[in-house]
Amino acid sequence: MTATTARLELQGIRKQYPGTLANDDIHLSILPGEIHALLGENGAGKSTLMKIIYGVVKPDTGAMIWEGNPIQIRDPAQARSLGIGMVFQHFSLFETLTVSENIALALGDQAGDIKTLPERISTISKRYGMALEPHRPVHSLSIGERQRVEIVRCLVQDIKLLILDEPTSVLTPQEVKTLFVTLRQLASEGCSILFISHKLYEVKELCHKATILRGGRVSGECTPADESTLSMAKMMVGDETPVSNTYEKKQGGEVFLTLHQLNQISHDPFGTSLKNISLQVRSGEIVGIAGVAGNGQEELLAALSGETLTPTADSIRFPTGAVGSLNPTERRQLGMAFVPEDRLGRGAVPDMTLTENGLLTGFLHGLVKGGMVLSGKTKHFAEQIIQDYKVKTPNAQAHAASLSGGNLQKFIIGREILQNPQLLVASHPTWGVDIGAATAIHQALIQLRDQGAAILVISEDTDELFQISDRIGAIFDGQLSPFKPTAQATIDEVGQWMAGVFNTEEAAA
């Protein structure tokens, strides 16, 4: 009996937030040594459920059974004392403190003897193949290393259940492999792991069991090894949404956008300077730039949009001439459109209506006359976006903040595409949106390409770039890798580029 007692069992967990039922009648059971996937789209209730397990949120009803005993978890400290550890998607580390100081702070009394802590950290990190230097300040660590700090923090204690919230979203493919080795080793020693993700192939590769959530309820349970990614995707999104598409690759025609030896020193101490960036994007092709966040993507996007002007105007050119010193409006007048990475706050004003948000960048296209806003045309423009891009909203008077991420993103993409751009720059176009919306957005981009627009997509989602780009490359530390037609590139190669392994290659070539 003891061998089959679940480490953790959830029964009928329910959590109601104002306006949404985040979790409804959730049942979940994790065995010792099991790597269990919690799959679901954004908004499916994954985050709420793990916060309940970690004691951050209290459920309205339902029971939690820990190693055969019913318990109530009051707060994370209690969860930790039971042996539950959690690695959040957004790290909570103090950049100015060292690794061991951070761990000591996070654990409080549970950290044990402070004097021996650095030594224990070294031992644990070596044992699980996660190189980590306890005395290094966190600001000098890469994103992957910071994640290790969070994991090691959990392992310093006697851990029985490790919860990881989308741990791979910030890692390169190589780093993901290293992480999986560590997780398998942990599981083999009897630690249960709850692995939250929406990347199906990862779940298939790593996890023994999977529980799939949709709309706050369990929509399926399976053994990932026995399922296809398609069948799991169907459980995630339901039957009505088309799940995956492959798109024909194109060559493109005339060059529209030319970046030539763009150098830009970042004035932000935590920013990345752009180094000698050269790239061409042709009309009728999609060029994808992969890369781990913080490698110069923001700086490159700001230089492209005109939010920061380049030191020499000539380093960014359209067919009409140099544009490096033109402001965003002037670049839009020359046919550029732009989808920024933050939907709420940059791409759209949260407390403005969709009509007003249409005007935000649509003003160049006949919505303003003699300084006056043409309210009829502006409303019509917003309604057209909503109709053409199937944005789910009661009407054009709804506030941007009231839309789901996917719907707002469809609205923003639609707003930019309806302006008939000759060049579209899109940053993380499907970040955090559900599969249905992502597919719609991909199709819209492909359609725009086929109409002859030049498209540059910068994304952390390598799969997405392989799916939609015609040519692909990566950015690392403010430098671009070589670019290749996507059909000839491999995930491994792009992964190496993302990790900065391309300078030597060039030198050798």
Binding site: P18, Q72, N327, P328, M352, F363
Partner: protein
Amino acid sequence: MIKLQPRREPSALMVYLSPVLAGLLTLITGAILFTALGYNPLTALHTFLIAPLQDSQGVSEWLVKASPILLCAIGLAVAYRANIWNIGAEGQLLMGALVGSAVALQFPDSESKAVLVLVLICGILAGMFWAGIAAYLKTQFNTNEILTTIMLNYIALNLLQYAVHGPLKDPEGYSFPESAAFSAGATLPTLMEDGRVHIGFGLALIAVLLVWFLVSKSFLGFQMKVMGMEAKAAKFAGYPEKRLTWLVLMISGGLAGLAGVCEVTGPIGQLIPNVSPGYGYAAIIVAFLGRLHPIGILAASLLMALIYMGGELAQIKLSTPAALTSLFQGMLLFYLLACDVLIRYRFIKTKPTTLSQGAN
């Protein structure tokens, strides 16, 4: 247990109800206060809020008081919508009064209304100049405009004091710190036969209309609103941040300057040390009480003017302390801020949560 729970969407009803609720709470607290001080609360409130308006003379004075508050508040609303925190309407008003007076005194015997136009324009420019200092510092050095505009208020006040005690003092005024009375040419025409209400009130109403047009119909107003609500979105869309900052400060400074010059050329008729009993500060409350909306501000400035008059009248009739006016203004602002919580939150009754497994 009663808890505050965030609403899913801000309540549209509460946006408008909150100022009314704040007004009611101010009245109730006022009544309690009067009682505690030993006055009959009904008589006191009557003296405060109704008695001032019982004859046409009173109504005229009411509009006289409302004009500068309205002009300042409507300008401030433009700035606040763009998230530019101009707290300096008082200083901009004083500069308008000071410079307008200096120009008016150059024409001691003029009958021509051209002088008046010149005086008004100079007053507006002075207010714009004073706000322009803050605009320059903000756009060039990213200086916080709240601090600079407040500091400029004190500088303006001291400049005014210096002027009435020095260069602009009436040489035949028995050394009183006052300027000579302005000539007929430099005086605002009145609107009514009896009473002091002058065309400044008309100018204020025109300003309300123009600002309404700017904020709700023009693309410029839309750009200001975007900048105010989400600066990063404005930057993304390529709206000229610095130009807009200058523009809103010019508008609010100019209108405050106009308010100041209208005071000295209208009801006062000369430059005196206490041109303004804090109209520029009261206008901040009025702008928020009126929900930064031109029509709301019109109503709120009339209410604020009434509080000024009621305070004076209560002082005369009931010998209440002079601080009562400020007290009422303060209560109004604080109750408004408190009631505004209800726009985004609501009260709910909560039962203690029970888990199905209960106590074990």
